[in-house]
Subunit: 346 residues, 2 copies
């Protein structure tokens, strides 16, 4: 008999609320014969204030035992900027070698977009997750003086770039349009840009059916608002991916519906699935948060574990629910979760 | 009697065409008593192919003699990516210490935007121009092998950050809304982020009338499409500024109308004014390019040299022309230049 042993990290703010709905839908969609075990972890601001810990080695050992991780959101104004981001989220992505940060963008019927004319949007960004300017390399000298110098070092390796580029080609190959766009800034960041572009062009030889192109990250933001239909799969660096996926989420329905996966494709470590949005402390505890992004992250999780039919059922339920929601009064967090749970079970 | 001694760099592709119109409007707007002298320079792809030179020390000495520089666009597919960008454009910005890269965004009446509902957009980005990931620091080892490592180093100094932050506070103070937003990624790039945030907060003490806020660069791209009216003045790092100003241009009428100034506020070196767009080789020589961005860059140039009334006349002429253009068949490059020249003279 099959089973899923899931680590659940609700985290801070609305993380608690949306994860509850994600689990509700997960339970509803799974066939009877699949045993779902969950273990909840208390990472986030509260634990940090109580113990000073963000993520210990023992925590990592424990998390490692799971098949996958579902994360709500981590972050609170009471914790200095960077502490939980670097000490928990990035630490986990790096420790579990989540080098494929997967962020699909699809504008569903009936969903509001800030763009005029309801353009067609259906692409996926493959963001590198373990290199670039996110490595924490760099430092500060003469801190706090008028002679302070602070550096940030973007580290890019052939090993790290090739594996994520290869993953992106595989995904492009599997999609009907078979198109892959490299986004970088190779005219200015010439060292990293040369590495990315070279490897991209080399791997492209092995995928003759995939159409490729290259655009600078600045130009990419223009296309994302003027011609998002030009994109099918995008592969890009950690920081550029961070920036363009927030923009991509904004144009394709907002961060209320943007899902993501932090994936370790080899399966050596559990992958982690989370909504793109943050902990939104301003609306926490009010039942106002939209759990859709978390539910869609559960779909990514299921697909990663091989439950494709169940993932499809969630995607279809969300599409139907969003169409029904259009023009209706806003529903509560649990109201949306309930509706989705009914749909996926039905 | 007054005079302007201008260096003119038409450059590549449509650069030639749009600069001609910029000069036409400049001549038309200047009072009789101002003597305009121009000297044309041949930088760009043609000279690079002929001589291998992009910008020599002798060129810099010669350019240094001018009051200001008007640039069209540099870049051609026949030159490898990065050669002209690093060898000409960035070299000039660094050599002349253009640390204030000024990029206003204003959605004028009648101008098409990809955003629904014609939002109010009127802000200016003060992009740092001489530091950050643009310094060319970094390198490559084991190039071309499977063990290649490429690094890019973002260099940030208290000196460099403070002067641009101060400039931005001055600009915010001089505007009706008096609001300044720092855009960075201080939760991940903690070394540089700490320096930027600290200096920003320190300088803020001296400007009690200016309202300040901070947002991460990824979130900034969301606001630029969902709520651009929230911005008045933005100050940011070189790379973040590059990215968000292309997006800002896209939402406020496109790069056809986006102007910029590479400013050395001390006047030690001449400042350079250029449209945000590139050389667009695909439409070069066809009279299709919109010279408006160059004409608006001429207005920035005039304001920098103290010709405020003339700059205002150009801005008003452009606004009137854009309103008139709405819904009309596209005019040629020189047709638009002629119309603007008539308006500013009248
Ligand atoms: C919270 C932050 C560290 C994170 C990132 O920059 O990756 C977030 O913006 C994201 O995109 O998941
Ligand atoms: C051409 C390129 C080097 C340049 C930059 O990145 O600064 C351009 O994108 C700009 O914004 O002026």
């Amino acid at each position: 008999s099959r089973s899923i042993n899931l680590a659940v990290i609700p985290g801070d703010g609305i993380g608690q609320e949306v994860v509850a709905e994600g689990l509700k839908v997960l339970s509803a969609v799974l066939p009877q014969d699949v045993k779902l075990e969950t273990k909840e972890y208390d990472f986030g601001a509260k634990r940090y204030h109580a113990t000073g810990e963000t993520l210990t080695d023992a925590d990592l050992d424990s998390l490692k035992q799971h098949d996958a991780i579902l994360l709500g959101a981590i972050g609170d104004p009471s914790v200095p900027s960077g502490v939980l981001e670097r000490g928990f989220l990035l630490k986990l992505r790096f420790a579990f070698d989540h080098h494929v940060n997967l962020r699909p963008s699809k504008l569903l019927p009936g969903v509001a977009t800030p763009l005029a004319g309801q353009p067609e949007i259906d692409f996926v960004v493959v963001r590198e997750g373990t290199e670039g300017p996110y490595t924490g390399n760099g430092g500060t000298i003469r801190k706090g003086t008028e002679h302070e110098v602070a550096t940030e070092v973007s580290v890019n390796t052939a090993y790290g770039v090739e594996r994520v580029v290869r993953d992106a080609f595989e995904r492009a190959q599997a999609r009907p349009r078979k198109k892959l766009t490299l986004v970088h800034k190779n005219n200015v960041l010439t060292f990293a840009g040369h590495l990315w572009t070279n490897i991209f062009n080399q791997v492209a030889q092995e995928y003759p059916e995939v159409t490729t192109d290259y655009i600078h990250v600045d130009a990419a933001t223009i296309y994302l608002v003027t011609d998002p239909a030009r994109f099918d799969v995008i592969v890009t660096d950690n920081l550029f991916g961070d920036i363009i996926t927030d923009l991509a989420a904004a144009v394709s329905g907002g961060i209320g519906v943007a899902a993501s996966g932090n994936i370790n494709p080899s399966g050596e470590f559990p992958s982690m699935f989370e909504p793109v949005h943050g902990s939104a402390p301003d609306i926490a505890g009010q039942g106002k948060a939209d759990p859709t992004a978390t539910v869609l992250s559960v779909a990514l999780l299921l697909r990663h574990l091989g439950y494709d039919a169940e993932a499809d059922r969630i995607d279809a339920a969300v599409a139907a629910d969003l169409t029904e929601r259009a023009g209706q009064p806003a529903r509560s967090t649990s109201g949306i979760g309930d509706a989705l749970a009914v749909r996926v079970a039905g």
